[in-house]
């Protein structure tokens, strides 16, 4: 495990292991594909578009229908209701209707007796396309003014004037690649037809309610006829927020039309081709600054590839704009955000949701300013931090708990930044082909859905007469430890051991109208909702005890060794039994809506976030300038989790997020060919980090001051913020390349990901 502060062991909140840990290690944790298959179950596969943009002239599916094992083949014409699997804009088709917008788009659905038969048959279609002009890249889309929504602008002051007045001015730009989620469990859904037209769907999804609503509309059913259930996902990272709907809807359609249970277990390569990814960006900037490196004026353009449809791209790109400031005061600024429509798969949510790209842009600018002035990049960063009198974001939100300066100072000291920077300089002087560098970058991440109405959650708590407790809430478990955190919250309310709390699968028939488990909000929202539900029951029990034992309610206490009421003391189980006999309701729902947030999207001003989570990371890397190979040698992190609900779970989130971020910026490269086909559609060519890519020195310390805002136990969200800690790896690689010409006052032209080839290209570019 990451070395951690021993003081954490005695922290107020226990580091309970993940509730499913014992099931995980024994292979007994059930995922969607693990239940017994009914003998009449059917399996599904999509026929996929081979064209990026075309009208479908004709689909000859006769060979598909005739193939061995095929039971049915469905097209858009077979869909009884809405042919729509989109989250907002109603523009994602379940099955193509006349036109295809990207390679891999689902054209028809094969229903067969086995997965292999379905996949084999799907390849037998003869499709005639009338190809249309396709734009595939950011540059092409920009050239043909192809956007999914109008270009957005967030500004303060007069950036242009500040730029011309500044002592120094530099402009530049770079590309940031996308990222495949590579959840280990691929997309999967099982649909089972029920009586009277109802359908039950087991889906690996972060958003059961959305699937419920989409399937109801697709089958002309009411939401009450559709139940969606998910116990756990084998990883999601945003990739199952909207993308799971396609597979669930296909399964539901086939179940509805055949009357048999169906399973859509998507093959890995198909999954990578069909589903959306993290947005790739082109960043261009023009920055003005003074001799100390204070940024005075900044014009920044963020252009992203949104793909063929809207999906969540507006909110993702908004979040990129919100994170351009990161921890820095940018007095006069103009951010222009272009959301480009391309004929490639529609990009979607991925841990950080645009934030990482926004932050990487400003970190690059910090490096650029430092290189220009010949100053240490950390000093430039520090001189630009928010502080008293300079603590308002470009969208007019006050940065209330500005702890980044303290976090950075601690990391600089504990990570021995200055000493190591000096020793690295000496190393580089004596090393011809291997160059080292370190970089320290901070993170400030806004917590809340920026679409305000999503910031609500519900929970359901039952206390049974034997004293055992069952909880259910709208959040989904994808490995992040949400269930155990919420269980701890509920166990604390009744002062019972967490083992007495049974956590149950997320189901739309238990808690309705839920938001996606996303935006790092799972524990904040559902923890609070469950807390409220449990408190309702506890209040009833308190009143019951006061009445039964003729004491004041203030004399009732729930403690680890039992419940006290006046002079009486009884076990929780005994209390539950008595309360039941006393006809007290032992079941309650709970609800929570985040207070105090308001945001006007038309002006991009307001308070979109309830609070910020902070962190900082320091990476040391080595680069081989002959081959472009690199290695991350050491990483030190200080990360803010508020008063942690579960330090062990939080440490795991930080470490996992960092390595995922490192992969995004180094080895993970999405490549498309000139026809818009994804070339890196398998783990053979798309390389996420392996165990040896984890730096051998990897130290994480938690910053555990309580949240200023009254969140659940004053904790902070932890899912997404630490992803961007890995930005320091990219900065360090750039700096290591720059070490080939220490006298130069510019940055190597490095694009992300820093693959060997991109690094070598930057080496060449920096030499020339």
């Amino acid at each position: 495990m990451a070395e951690c502060d021993p003081a954490l062991r005695i922290a107020a909140k226990p580091s309970n292991a993940h509730d499913s840990a014992r099931l995980h290690v024994s292979g007994a944790a059930g995922y969607v594909d693990d239940g017994a298959e009914p003998i009449d179950m059917l399996h599904l596969a999509f026929g996929q578009s081979e064209e990026a943009h075309a009208r479908i002239a004709h689909m000859d599916l006769s060979a598909v229908r005739a193939a061995q094992g095929v039971v049915a083949v469905f097209t858009a014409a077979d869909i009884p209701g809405a042919n729509d699997v989109s989250p907002v804009a109603k523009d994602d088709r379940l099955l193509a209707d006349g036109e295809v917008m990207c390679v891999g788009q689902a054209l028809f659905l094969v229903v067969a007796t086995s997965q292999r038969a379905a996949r084999q048959a799907a390849r037998l279609a003869r499709i005639s396309y009338e190809p249309r002009a396709a734009c595939l890249t950011i540059a092409e889309a920009r050239a043909s003014s192809s956007f999914i929504e109008p270009t957005q602008r967030m500004a303060r002051g007069d950036a242009r004037a500040a730029l011309s007045a500044a002592a120094h001015r530099v402009s530049g730009g770079f590309d940031i690649g996308g990222q495949d989620h590579f959840y280990l469990e691929g997309q999967i859904a099982i649909a089972t037809p029920g009586e009277d037209g109802q359908v039950h769907i087991l889906s690996s999804t972060q958003h059961p309610s959305e699937i419920q609503h989409l399937v109801a509309a697709m089958l002309n059913l009411s939401s009450a006829d559709v139940t969606v259930e998910v116990r756990r996902m084998g990883g999601a990272f945003g990739g199952k927020e909207t993308q799971a709907a396609l597979f669930a809807a296909a399964a539901a359609l086939a179940a509805h039309l055949t009357g048999r249970p169906t399973k859509f277990r998507c093959d890995r390569d198909d999954d990578m081709i069909i589903t959306g990814k993290r947005h790739d960006f082109r960043i261009d900037y023009d920055v003005g600054f003074d001799d100390q490196g204070h940024i005075l004026g900044l014009q920044l353009r963020l252009a992203s590839r949104c793909g063929a449809t809207v999906d969540l791209s507006p909110a993702i790109n908004d979040r990129a704009m919100f994170h351009v400031d990161n921890c820095y005061w940018l007095p006069d600024i103009e951010i222009v955000s272009e959301r480009l429509k391309t004929h490639t798969v529609s990009n979607t949510a991925f841990r950080g949701f645009g934030g990482p790209q926004g932050m990487l842009a400003i970190e690059r600018i910090m490096d650029e300013v430092a290189a220009f002035l010949g100053r240490d990049p950390l000093d430039v960063r520090i001189s630009n931090l928010y502080g008293p009198g300079r603590n308002v974001t470009p969208y007019d939100m006050v940065v209330a708990d500005n702890i980044a300066p303290e976090i950075i100072a601690r990391l600089r000291r504990e990570g021995r930044y200055d000493e190591r920077a000096a020793s690295i300089e000496a190393f580089n002087a004596g090393s011809a082909i291997l160059k080292k560098a370190i970089a320290l970058t901070p993170v400030k991440f806004g917590i809340s859905f920026t679409t305000t109405h999503l910031n609500q959650a519900g929970a359901l708590v039952h206390v049974y007469a034997d004293g055992s407790i069952q909880i259910n809430h709208g959040g989904t478990e994808m490995g992040q430890g949400l269930y155990i955190k919420v269980a701890q919250v509920v166990a604390d309310v009744f002062a019972v051991p967490v083992s007495q709390v049974r956590i149950t699968a997320t189901r739309t028939d238990k808690v309705p109208n839920t938001s996606a488990t996303a935006a790092s909000s799972g524990a904040d929202l559902n923890g609070m909702a469950a807390h409220n539900a449990a408190m309702t029951i506890r209040d009833r029990l308190t009143a019951f005890l006061a009445q039964t034992f003729a004491c004041a309610e203030s004399e009732v206490a729930f403690a680890a060794d039992g419940v006290v009421a006046g002079k009486e003391k009884l076990s929780f189980a005994d209390l539950a039994r008595r309360a039941h006999m006393g006809r007290i309701s032992l079941s309650a729902t709970g609800y929570y809506a985040t207070p105090g947030i308001a945001y006007d999207r038309s002006t991009h001003k307001g308070r979109p976030f309830y609070y910020f989570a902070y962190g900082a990371a320091l990476a040391e890397v080595a680069v081989d300038i002959l081959t472009g190979e690199h290695r991350v040698l050491a990483v030190d992190i200080v990360h803010d989790v508020g008063r942690s609900l579960n330090p062990a779970i939080d440490l795991g989130q930080i470490e996992g997020a960092f390595i995922q971020g490192q992969g995004w910026l180094t080895t993970e490269e999405l490549m498309f060919d000139a026809k818009g086909r994804l070339l890196t559609h398998s783990p053979a060519t798309y390389k996420i980090p392996t165990a040896s890519d984890r730096p051998r020195h990897f130290r994480i310390s938690l910053w555990q001051d309580e949240n200023l805002e009254p969140t659940i136990h004053r904790s902070k969200a932890v899912g997404e913020p630490p992803f961007s800690l890995a930005n320091c790896v990219f900065s360090a690689i750039g700096r290591a390349i720059a070490a080939i010409s220490p006298e130069k006052r510019s940055l190597p032209p490095l694009n992300a990901p820093a693959t060997p080839e991109n690094i070598l290209r930057a080496v060449r570019g920096y030499r020339d």
Binding site: M1, A2, H18, A21, R22, L23, H24, V25, S26, G27, G30, D33, Y183, L184, E185, G186, M233, G234, G235, R268, D269, S423, I433, L434, K436, I438, G479, Q480, G481, E620, D624, L626, T627, G628, E629, R631, I649, G652, E655, G656, A657, F658, I659, M671, S682, P683, A684, T685, K687, I688, P689, T690, D693, R694, H697, T755, P756, E757, L760, R764
Partner: protein
Amino acid sequence: MSVRFLLDGEIVEITDVDPTSTILNYLRYRLRRTGTKEGCAEGDCGACTVLLGELDEGAETMRWRSVNACILFLPMLDGKALLTVESLAVDGKLNPLQACMAENGSSQCGFCTPGFVMSLYGRTIGASGHDLPVADVVAGNLCRCTGYGPILAAGDGIGKLSRDDQPTMVALREMAETACAGGVFEDRRWFAPRTPEALAGLLAAHPDARIIAGATDVGLWVTKGLKTIETMVFIGNVAGMKAIVEDEAGVTLGAGVPYADAHAAFSRLHPDLGELVRRIGGLQVRNAGTIGGNIANGSPIGDGPPALIALGAELTLCSTAGRRTMPLENFFLDYGRQDRQPGEYVESLWIPRPAPQDIIHISKLSRRFDSDISAVCGAFALTVENGLIVRARIAFGGMAATPCRASGCEAALVGKPFAAETIASGTIALAGDFSPITDVRGTATYRAEVAANLLWRLWYRAQGEDISVLALESSHG
């Protein structure tokens, strides 16, 4: 005609053997042992890791090896013992490794976890590759959630675990008596010969048959290419195909030797060769994938051939008509075409031992260090006498349609002093040797540039420079 294997001490018999059905699908959908997961169905993620146990030659000892169940075909289970994640807990009590992983945060979503458990469990019981560092043992297991720290800590923290394999060996010996020779499924045939003569005879009778060794290449034709294979000849049980003979002159390896088994002998030939083997696939792939398969597959980016060509390896082919031996480079005729006649199989490989003073340098370049395919693999063997290069064998993978020698570069070096100017002229000659292609693993420009730089790397190393980021420590000390 049934396939039989040992699972948790019980013999499982499969009568209707589809020879291209994978062990993973059999476990999950026939036996309903769903602890073993599918993450990719192409050998790259390790979620399907299981342990296969087999008797060593002579049947006195046995060996466990981790393999990817997603690309192993059912006939390859015959006569073997299988352990899955469900095999480890006894009476509901977790094995110490599992308990440690459960307590220390080794799992988040848990989907990769059974695979890691099996890889690490193999290490604790002395399975193939157990002497590797933990990170190497799990290099073929991907985890997207944890960042690996707790998993590595669990692997490092657990010592040897005892395992009584006596009953397994007794059962395996008994099963060996009734090994399955093959079968027919629908209109497809498969064979599992046990002697070289039988193999040669079968190939003569079925010249179109597909030989299956470790199936780490062929497996994907089935799981990803969705191909059906008419006639399959499984060579895993052919006597003698897994022999390794080391002597002063060199090493002779049977074509069926898995990379993992050759690792030590290769390291003794030269540390660079050992390091190259360490970076072929993950351990599961090296436990199954054979040296013969790597060569016979003929891929331009296979890692074995360039290094073996530079070292001067010779290949022996065999058929009912007899044997042929050739320099390895002559085997590769063109893209997808090798000098193998119908009915012939690759029998063995001989690699001469380099002289101690030879300058050997082998570099694999890939996006990721572990478990990745080369963009370019360069191998150099130079003999320098009195400051003069008297002999040069240089071979590359990823630079042409086949693995092949850089003859222009060799000619530019031989007879010249071992000096920077010679290296510079060598790189110019090298540019004329190849016109590499652009593909998903690298552009033509990158390939040409790094191929030349690898020659420089050899030079810098000879000057005593650090040449690999892998060997560096951080300034934390």
